[in-house]
Symmetry: C2
């Protein structure tokens, strides 16, 4: 995890992302502080579970989903200030507070998904911190508690993740009924996308159609399209055309996000990423990179590619696989795809009638998502 040969300076996030992230971080911290205080007073053991969630929430994260939702909200409601409810009748939450709540909701939902994913992948580190299931398995051993440490650690991680899911949901209170529909839909898509990902890895279905389908659910819809759509629905119903335009912007950008993620999982810097490189290959994750290489490999290269999905791959074997991915042109193709997708996204963004400041912000976010180093 220290001096990787691929070490490169981390790309700085655009100021429009940092601006949203700091508001959202403050809200997350406020919710966590209040909850830890409340439950610790009742029983210190209950406060512990919330503190585990806090440990994962405050250990980093780019707050991308929050920023996409925020800038879509600004783009739409700065253009149409008459549509913005000053004080929402049912909830009594003001609009500025509500959009930050929604951003915090996305982040709690992401933490929930990561904590549960880390169990499924048996990852030991996340954002540079020990994962919840490993931390709590270790606790059993350290304290000399009884039972199977793995089972206990995973049990705690399931519950801490579930708790994050509830806090996420709680923070959406006050959004419009149309917004809530989208929120429910994105949570179903997130879970089914992860199911498809895991099932395809187990069944060895590493084809392009599957890789794309997983990317649509887990990246395009969940990370970009749905946050954008929720931003413009915050205060009420919205023109279907605008939702479609946001889809046309978010879908290619989401695929670019996933392709960058896949590339970083192979060629990124472990310290910047906060997680080990090569794990996607060990897990047999269905990526477009591997699917492209499979479709364009010689018989010899194919033999090497068949190693994908072997959980015990050595770092030499990982290097060998990366070489084949490079030789088959998969890595270069991946970079070209990212570029084309960002161009398509940018063109779609230009067709949206958003306030100029928001267009600039979403433009900067699009570039960042495609070029990021972590």
């Amino acid at each position: 995890m220290t001096d990787s040969p691929n070490r490169q300076p981390a790309l700085t996030p655009p100021p429009q992302l940092i601006e949203v992230a700091s508001k959202v971080d403050a809200r997350l911290q406020a919710v966590l502080d209040e909850q830890i205080g409340h439950w610790t007073t009742i029983d210190p053991r209950l406060g512990e579970a919330v503190a585990e969630l806090a440990r994962m929430t405050t250990s980093g994260g780019k707050r991308l989903r929050a920023a996409f939702a925020y800038w879509a909200w600004r783009g739409h409601y700065d253009r149409h200030p008459d549509l913005r409810s000053d004080k929402l009748a049912t909830s009594g939450i003001g609009p500025e507070e509500l959009i930050v709540n929604l951003g915090a909701a996305f982040e709690f939902l992401q933490i929930f998904a990561l904590i549960h994913d880390d169990i499924m992948d048996d990852s030991t580190t996340r954002r540079g911190a020990t994962t919840v299931h490993v931390q709590n398995a270790n606790r059993v051993t350290e304290q000399g508690w009884r039972g199977d440490p793995r089972r206990y650690g995973e049990g705690v991680a399931i519950l801490v993740g579930d708790l994050g899911h509830v806090y996420a949901d709680q923070l959406t209170n006050g959004i419009s009924p149309r917004g809530r529909q989208i929120w429910d839909e994105l949570r179903i898509e997130l879970n089914l996308g992860q199911y498809l990902d895991m099932r395809s890895a187990a069944a060895g279905e590493l084809n392009l159609a599957t890789a794309r389908s997983v990317a649509v659910f887990k990246s395009a819809l969940y990370t970009i399209v749905r946050p954008l759509q929720l931003g413009v629905c915050l205060h009420g119903p919205v023109d279907i055309q605008l939702l479609e335009q946001l889809d046309a912007f978010g879908r290619p950008l989401g695929r670019a996000f996933q392709l960058r993620d896949d590339a970083l999982g192979l060629l990124g810097d472990e310290e910047t990423l906060g997680k080990p490189v090569g794990d996607d290959l060990r897990e047999g994750k269905p990526t477009e990179l591997v699917a492209f290489a499979m479709a364009n490999s010689s018989p010899t290269q194919k033999t090497v590619l068949d190693l994908v999905g072997n959980p015990d791959l050595s770092s030499d074997q990982v290097s060998q696989l990366i070489e084949v991915l490079s030789e088959t042109g998969a890595i270069a193709h991946n970079e070209q795809e990212i570029q084309s997708l960002v161009i398509a996204a940018t063109e779609a963004l230009d067709r949206i009638d958003f306030a100029p400041e928001a267009v600039d912000a979403l433009q900067a976010m699009a570039q960042y998502v495609a070029a990021r180093t972590s």
Copy 2:
């Protein structure tokens, strides 16, 4: 699992419970059918995950939480028909539909909790069916898929549970803001109660205070108090006094529910219960029964009680433990406690200004909860 010496006829649920259960079952089935159809059209593999949820949802369950919510709703709004919104402004869902939706929400939430609990306890059967994590671990072996079957099975069960959580939540759309607050609170209590349960078992904290605390969160609040309170808040704000009166009825009844559950876990009929007897002792579950026996045991009896929490207990050791629980008076004490708690609950119910038909129903439910055989 066949001819247990404790075999007794299962107690018939009251008609007021069956009436609600059949409406709720129809709603659950409709949601599941629609979702399985929708996702199977997109990709049959996605439909599979929803079908797993359906398998657990339709394999039984008493729908107790739905019935407590329904009869509290009837009790309050039949008394005050002016407070019942005929058509809820924001959602367009009628009141009869909404209360059944809420009942279905409770049941999906319960399925979510059971699927996740079964991973934590590594249970193999639930309601007589193979648990989700075991079923899907077996699939890896049967299909010759790659990877660790246990990890895959548990991963699928985490996701299928999460999906149930989303459907639960989706079905609450349209309830009042006060109702949503209670819904959020009960979900936090459910997760923290389960955390306390698991943590106490691991740390060997089998004292009375812990057992009671777990019972408050997991049974009193989650199963009875919160469903009752949600029923009377369905259409809007409500007098705090009524919420407190429902608490005074639901809390003792919830403890009685838990004490009955603890007794059935030791002395019940495996076939009627749909799960193995003695598992609570193997898991070291903090129950009042064990705490009472611990506090009233001779040194010799204490040595036997120290077996609690040993996952490899033989059925002989389980019988030995049950003997000690009987000798220390813990089992008799448990039955007396149940009786006193039901009397306290019934007295509290009499003080509530509910429509008579609902009082009768809640009375019958209270008797059933305390005397049930499954």
